[in-house]
């Protein structure tokens, strides 16, 4: 990943350990990013079990939750990211 350049897309995914939803969400978002914004994104995956205080700080309720930090406006997505179309729309990647 080209960490040197400022990535266009900054995404943060909150998961809860290795639940089926978590695993699916990680797989799904990774494949979407690879397909549409390869090389232009930064995906941070946070396991809430090891960062419990993050849940309150980041207003996490439903998981998995994906936060699009950049580009603005910031956007929250919940679910296992299986609804491809919705994810793309929310990320501003309409085909």
């Amino acid at each position: 990943m080209e960490k040197a350049i400022k990535p266009e897309y900054i995404l943060r995914l909150f998961v809860t350990g290795a639940t089926p939803n978590s695993v699916r969400a990680i797989t799904n978002i990774k494949s979407i990013c690879e397909e549409h914004v390869r090389g232009k994104y930064l995906l941070e995956i946070i396991d809430l079990y090891s960062h419990q205080e993050m849940a309150e700080l980041q207003q996490v309720v439903a998981v998995p939750m994906l936060v699009k930090i950049r580009p603005l406006p910031s956007q929250k997505l919940i679910g296992d990211m299986s609804d491809n179309k919705k994810v793309l729309e929310a990320l501003g990647l309409t085909v």
Binding site: F14, T16, T19, N21, R24, A25, N28, L48, Y49, Q52, E53, A55, E56, Q59, V60, V61, A62, V63, P64, M65, L66, Q75, K76, L77, I78, G79, D80, M81, S82, D83, K86, V87, E89, A90
Partner: protein
């Protein structure tokens, strides 16, 4: 065999529900010990019914009274807003948060900000809550109002399953939880949370009647526990929530046979010489201006003079007004107020509903701990409720006061219908003693009469007395009972004067007769004296005569002797010569 029974018993002990004290005034009494420990309780009700406050007080009291930290998870209000809102109730959330006794977490969900993209769960919420609980070692948790999640997220199926899982998880965590829920149209909560919380459900309500609001609490269900099933009014004021477990089911309060003087000696005399029983309830009824307030003030003043604490609940006049007015009949209540013996509590009855009024009275009584209270007048309470409501309120008040051994005097205004002696409130049957003050109009003036209609458990006069309000104080005088009937006021005075006149005339007559006798006696005495004197003089005359006679006799005898002597001498001389 005995071993087996023992085992059975201990198993039973384990099965009986453990409870957590809420620390909320009255609620622990109704629930007989608080909420089910380690289990969720649902508190539901409409908007503004006090759910949030009740649940927050549960946490604050837990932290301050029972040393049990608590987590408050707010789905509605932000933490800062919450802190400000409850500061007016004397809950210092900031301090409690700093000392790690309370943790506030505001959960924000907005449907417009979140896109749902497939399967999810509420794992984030679980972690958040778990973290909050573990970070302060919480024993109590409040979720206020978790149903808001339903408006933030779409997938109802997931939410229901997750909430069910959450409640189970909370049970496993052994935290005592309050979950609040907004009341639905036909159901207790909009999203049927009551299905998941099967242990304890408390319903709060907020009713408006005659433009007066009353808050009501009812325990809909409490599995495995005895609990009060009635609707209990509750009050939210500067000290938080007070629920009133009003009706004492049993009539078993202890009674005193000690007596308290009324402050009017003549009235004590009418009551067998000693006054009312301590802890009894006394009704003073009468038409306007018959002196009910004065009588009540006298009663209270007398108690204060004995050094007892009293409360005067004034529903009509302000304390200053009462103090000023009572100075005109010779009692100064101001000193008692300054000494802290006399407490005035003046309010317009329609300020609160009846139940609120009752809760308020309870609170003040519990704070001041008086021996005597006055409610002046109860008639005004009817403005805030129907007659039957006032009656039931007063019955409960009397029950409460009897339990505390507080003597209470009610005054009630009766309308002069002429025949009916019944008070509007219909309380004359429930009080222990009833004084009736009555206007008696005759000869163009009004006078006050006082009757003792009843006085349980003591000999009392059946006579009407005239009730006098003078500059120097209150007094009772016997009315005139005579051939001309019962007379009051100036008629009585006139009668008394004319009687005095008759007596005077009679006295005059007899004294004249006495004087006549005296005179006659004197005349006769003088006559007797004259006769005596006459007799004396006669006697004297007679004795003088007899003395003279004696004297003469003596002299005569002497003379005769002398003569005869002389003669014999002469004879001797003559014999020789015989010629002279």
């Amino acid at each position: 065999m005995s071993n087996r029974t023992k085992k059975g018993l201990s198993a039973l002990d384990n099965r009986t529900l453990k409870k957590t004290l809420t620390g909320i005034t009255g609620l622990d009494e109704i629930t007989e010990g608080g909420l089910p420990a380690g289990r969720p309780t649902l508190v539901c009700g409409g908007t503004g019914c006090g759910k949030t406050l009740l649940s927050l007080e549960f946490l604050v009291k837990g932290a301050t009274l029972y040393n049990e930290p608590g987590v408050f998870m707010a789905f509605e209000e932000k933490a800062a807003e919450l802190t400000t809102n409850v500061a007016s109730l004397g809950f210092d959330l900031e301090k409690l948060q700093k000392s790690k006794m309370i943790k506030l977490d505001y959960v924000h969900i907005d449907r417009s900000e979140v896109e749902e993209t497939g399967e999810y769960d509420l794992g984030g919420l679980f972690i958040r809550l778990g973290h909050a609980i573990d970070s302060i070692g919480a024993k109590r948790v409040v979720l206020d109002t978790i149903e808001n999640i339903f408006s933030g997220l779409n997938n109802q199926g997931i939410l229901r399953a997750e909430i069910r899982r959450l409640f189970q998880w909370l049970k496993d965590k052994k935290v005592t939880t309050i979950i609040t829920g907004e009341q639905g149209n036909e159901t207790l909560t909009r999203h049927g949370l009551e299905e998941y919380v099967s242990d304890c459900v408390i319903l709060l309500d907020h009713r408006i009647k005659n433009q007066i609001s009353t808050r009501i609490l009812r325990i809909v269900k409490y599995r495995g526990s005895i609990h009060g099933t009635n609707e209990y009014p509750f009050l939210i004021d500067a000290d938080g929530i007070s629920v009133l477990p009003i009706t004492s089911i049993r009539l078993d309060s202890k009674v005193s046979s000690k007596r308290v003087p009324t402050g009017i000696r003549a009235l004590d005399t009418m009551l067998g010489g000693e006054g009312f029983f301590r802890g009894s309830s006394i009704l003073v009824s009468g038409t306007a201006g018959t002196g009910k307030t004065s009588l009540a003030a006298y009663f209270v003043n007398e108690a204060c003079n004995r050094g007892e604490r009293c409360i005067f609940f004034a529903f009509e006049e302000s304390p200053y007004q009462i103090i000023r007015n009572m100075k005109s009949i010779g009692i100064d209540m101001e000193d008692h107020v300054k000494n802290g013996l006399l407490h005035f509590h003046a309010s317009r009855p329609y300020l609160y509903g009846l139940e609120m009024q009752l809760v308020e009275i309870h609170k003040i009584i519990q704070k001041v701990k008086p021996t005597t209270i006055v409610l002046d007048p109860i008639t005004n309470l009817a403005n805030a409720g129907s007659v039957s409501e006032v009656k039931s309120m007063l019955i409960r008040l009397i029950d409460f006061l009897q339990g505390k051994g507080v003597t209470v005097m009610f005054t009630a205004l009766t309308l002069s219908t002429g025949t009916s002696e019944q008070t509007d409130e219909g309380v004359s049957s429930i009080v222990d003693a009833w004084l009736l003050l009555r206007d008696i109009e005759s000869n163009g003036e009004r006078n006050r009469g006082i009757y003792i209609m009843k006085s349980r458990g003591m000999r009392h006069s059946n006579q009407v007395r005239e009730f006098l309000i003078r500059d120097t104080g209150l007094d009772l005088v016997d009315v005139y009972l005579g051939p001309e009937g019962v007379l009051f006021g100036s008629a009585r005075e006139t009668q008394q004067l004319s009687e005095a006149a008759v007596v005077a005339v009679r006295t005059n007559d007899s004294s004249r007769r006495n004087r006549e006798i005296g005179r006659k006696q004197k005349v006769l005495a003088s006559k007797i004296e004259t006769l005596q004197e006459e007799f004396e003089s006669a006697k004297e005359e007679l004795s003088r005569a007899s003395t003279e006679e004696e004297l003469r006799k003596d002299i005569f005898e002497k003379d005769r002797q002398t003569i005869s002597k002389k003669r014999s001498e002469a004879n001797k001389q003559v014999k020789p010569g015989n010629k002279r």
